[in-house]
Symmetry: C2
Subunit: 594 residues, 2 copies
């Protein structure tokens, strides 16, 4: 009852026309793939996600994962394991990994399109390979030679998977509070003791081994985040020459019962003297973990996009099929007992909201991934630095906003279905439940908001924000025809955003809490500016190549965006304008008990 067809034409439009990936990556070592190769990859990914993964989405939700307490093994939903075997067989796990470790070395921006399809098709299934990507990044950048040799290749090949073990019961957003300890065993290894919670894919039946990347404290570690180290803890021990040995003392203690994402095994992991290997410098674990986290944050933004896309496809199809009432101005389909509900303007408002968020959101997250590619491999060092700064600026916007958008899009999509959206049969409520985690894990929206205004905007005196807004201004200057009015609206919003950053900076210098009082609304306002920028870029690309996309449709959706969504930017700026003063809560202000 719930379809998914990969939006290949739209993806190609973004990659080729809007972002000009080939042009941008020209000259980057081994990075400018042939368009034919990319096309083939996308088509094969569309087939795999649509035919193999999508039908398993409701299966995962219905069956969930089952823990066998006798041996702490986890049975994943029917079909999941077999789908993973196909995934490995197709070489998908190493799509963007370096060739020296068995990967195909395709750009992250191409990997992003593939990830989006997987997330649309089956978000829960997609969480298993997802964490391998983060582990790959961490090992690549911080692992010793033997660690890369022993652990990286099996992960890239998909024979093993990775996890990120960060959260503890009392340490979520605040990793400085974590208590898991690592004691030197004297032989260069460490014995890890502690409990981690909310560990995605912490245990499963996809692969023989699982490589946990674990944050823990050394005995002499300073308190707080400066005393956290990163360790490799494999489910089965592995010698330095790669021989797999006995079962390590790390076990899944229980599975969480979650609102959604039920096909994904969310584990409590107990470390009872498990053997671990230090990765990166002692007490520098958080920095190393950030390598994984930035990658994971863009990936979660893609999850939001993928869920929104699937929800939107189904809502649009339903709105064309479902007959209820006549258009107020007269019957549109007099031969039918009623008009399709897409004829009702407010149903179109809900569909267009999704389209406007999704299509511009895709440009935004692919753009961020392209900047990651450029940061990694552009020939010019200055270009690499610029790209890294841009990716850093965009990452909290992508993670924060595309996940909030997913909540909104799945909300609208369900609403279009009315009562049928609320029952399991149509699959819309699963998408809404699955989406709800995305604004939480890998750093809540609140954490993203603080990251944006605090670390990405104010710490460099707004320089990077200024560079980005200057680029937006150039895009506005390039607007022609009906885009000119849109550009004027965007310029105004962008200039208000810049002014707000200045105000927040001044206030924060007086009282640091002003940062937190403004962060969320600043993130949201910046996001609507970002999407306006993406819409102008799409309009320009559509005008430049009328064959690549339906230009009239793009213009209509853009007109909707600028008229009916961009006003949210001003609203958020108005809200943050009042500052910390209006966020007072008296001691008694919990909802009063009787």
């Amino acid at each position: 009852m719930n379809r998914y067809d990969a939006p290949l034409r739209e993806m190609r439009f973004v990659l080729n026309e809007v972002l000009d990936v080939s042009g941008q990556l020209a000259g980057a070592a081994g990075m400018a793939p042939e368009r034919e190769l990319v096309d083939a990859v996308l088509e094969e990914a569309a087939r795999f996600s649509g035919q193999v993964l999508a039908p398993l989405n409701s299966v995962g939700d219905t069956h969930g994962c089952v823990l066998d307490k006798s041996d702490a093994s986890v049975r994943t939903p029917p079909g999941f394991r077999e789908a993973y075997a196909q995934f490995v067989e197709g070489g998908w796990g190493g799509l963007t990994a370096p060739a020296e470790w068995g990967g195909q070395h395709l750009p992250e921006v191409v990997g992003a399109a593939v990830k989006e399809m997987i997330d649309s098709a089956n978000l829960a299934w997609g969480t298993y390979p997802l964490l391998s990507h983060g582990a790959t990044e961490a090992l690549k950048h911080h692992g010793e030679a033997w660690q890369r040799e022993v652990f990286l290749r099996p992960i890239v090949e998909g024979r093993w998977t990775g996890t990120m073990c960060l959260t503890e019961p009392h340490a979520g957003s605040d990793l400085g509070l974590l208590k898991t300890r690592a004691e030197p065993a004297g032989d260069g290894t460490y014995a890890l003791h502690g409990t981690k919670i909310f560990i995605t894919a912490g245990e499963h039946d996809f692969t023989d081994n699982i490589v946990h990347l674990v944050l823990a404290r050394l005995p002499d570690a300073p308190a707080g985040v400066r005393g956290i180290s990163l360790f490799i803890v494999p489910k089965f021990r592995v010698s330095r020459d790669g021989v797999v040995g006995e079962r390590n003392a790390v076990h899944c203690g229980s599975l969480e019962h979650k609102m959604g994402l039920r096909g994904s095994a969310t584990c409590v992991m107990n470390f009872d003297g498990a053997v671990g290997y230090l990765i990166a410098e002692p007490n520098r674990g958080l920095q190393a973990m950030f390598t994984m986290m930035n990658s994971a944050r863009l990936a979660v933004g893609l999850q939001g996009l993928g869920l929104s896309e699937r929800a939107s496809q189904n809502a649009a199809a339903y709105a064309r099929d479902r007959l209820q009432m006549r258009a107020l101005s007269g019957a549109r389909a007099p031969e039918l007992p009623a008009d399709p509900i897409i004829e009702h303007p407010d149903v179109r408002r809900m569909l267009l909201t999704q389209k406007a968020l999704i299509e511009a959101g895709r440009v935004l997250v692919y753009e961020a991934c392209l900047q990651i590619d450029l940061a990694d491999r552009a020939p010019d060092p200055e270009r690499r630095t610029q790209a890294e700064a841009r990716a850093s600026l965009l990452t909290p916007i992508v993670k924060g906003f595309l996940t909030e958008s997913a909540v909104e899009c799945t909300y609208h999509a369900l609403q279009v279905f009315g009562g049928h959206g609320y029952i399991a049969e149509w699959g819309m409520e699963q998408l809404a439940r699955d989406a709800r985690i995305t604004t939480i894990y890998e750093g809540t929206t609140q954490i993203q908001a603080l990251d944006l205004i605090g670390r990405k905007v104010l710490t460099n005196q707004g320089r990077e924000l200024g560079l980005w807004l200057a680029e937006i201004d150039q895009e506005c200057a390039a607007a022609e025809g009906s885009s000119k009015a849109h550009a004027d609206s965007l310029r105004s919003a962008a200039s208000s955003l810049a002014a707000a950053a200045g105000t927040i900076g001044q206030r924060t210098s007086v009282n640091a809490d002003e940062l937190g009082a403004a962060a969320y609304d600043f993130l949201m306002a910046a996001s609507y500016v970002a999407l306006g920028w993406c819409w102008l870029r799409m309009l320009r690309a559509a005008a430049a190549n009328p064959e690549a996309v339906d230009g009239r449709e793009k213009r209509a959706t853009a007109a909707f965006y600028f008229a009916r969504m961009l006003p949210r930017a001003d609203m958020h700026l108005a809200c943050l304008g009042s500052g910390l003063e209006t966020l007072e809560m008296t001691a008694a202000a919990a909802p009063a008990a009787g």
Copy 2:
């Protein structure tokens, strides 16, 4: 893990200080209850909902309802049936029903406070008695004498329950499409044939009999909504002198698997020649049903409020307990390993958003119920007419907005819990899932929006809107001290709202679809104006009686509302400003398949 304490002090503040229920109802026949009686009722309801119903909330979600196909019986979750017996024992079912049918004849506004508590404590359980209230209203106003005698008293006494059987697979918002038919049997009864879906409490084990109120078509009925009649179809047949007879041919065919509200039996009901009795005039069923529907719509608004209240209570408590990170301006609780997250401004923003919506929302829905009481029983006929018009105006705002608010409040509350909000253990995700139906059933937000601008505003040339806005203006004029600035903001928003109504009227006279293009944003803007009005009323009442409430807390939350929520009104008015033109979707604008 999930608490509920009835907010009695807040409820009393609204009933006594803000609305002055006793004063308003003085002179209304038998309608001005002693304050001591009301207090006793509220306290007993708080006890029953907190101690009996609240602990069963997660039980209902976990167990759901079970259909035994062998006899089409439905087993409700453990404890539900016993709780209902206590409810009947306490006389709660007839709280607001006429004394002549066994009721206690308390005002609806008092019943509203009791309903709110029930909905906070256990929304799913509350759906069983809820529909009895609608059936009572329909029978009271439209039933023949024998029908009232035979059916009304057992319902009021709680021995039987009622249902509303409207929806069919192809007839949801559009009841004109319904196909269930009623054939005259020649003896004054009718034989009903057809299938109804989404029937709340259609079958259960609470009572011996169930009284279905069913919309169906007579053989010679005109097409559309002018050919719909209303029938009483009891589960067990009842003779005109009240003797219960054999099982009627109406059976539960299946139960829906829903996103939430799992303790509520949502039934497919099959009518296979079931014996029914015509109620009201032939082909006037929809009008009679509207009697039930208006009551049900206010009741669903209360559901939204109740869910928001419970979510908010738990989020506030968690935010005081959960320790993560230090306030950016320095440690607030240096003796603890980290500060309570309520010290982070954005957590307070989420809590204050809930508080601001809930406290003003409570004033709004109680006010609407008070108008229902006045419409029913004020001594002066003109006052009754005024009150009915006001209740009509407020009903779509209450239903539409308080349910959308419930989605938002449960969203924020879950977010405050972070990852713990997403797992079942804490109960927050259940509240979010339960809330999601409220914007759909008893008329979607879209239907409420069309009702407001179309039937309640434009059909009387904006007269009723004008009267209401004039009253708001008076409230603004009465503002003193720090409320004056709030009043200025509200006046500005109210005047923009009035202007928007005029614009919509003009546009609609040219193209009727402009109504649908503006309806949603108009509803939302009107709602934020309405809440601003309620906040000013609360501030005035708090100033008048400083003992009744914590005035400082009220002023702080009001400051939050006017600075950080009222700007949404302008945003919605900006969005609707562009009209139908920006809601264009091309034929191809379903999200493009590859």
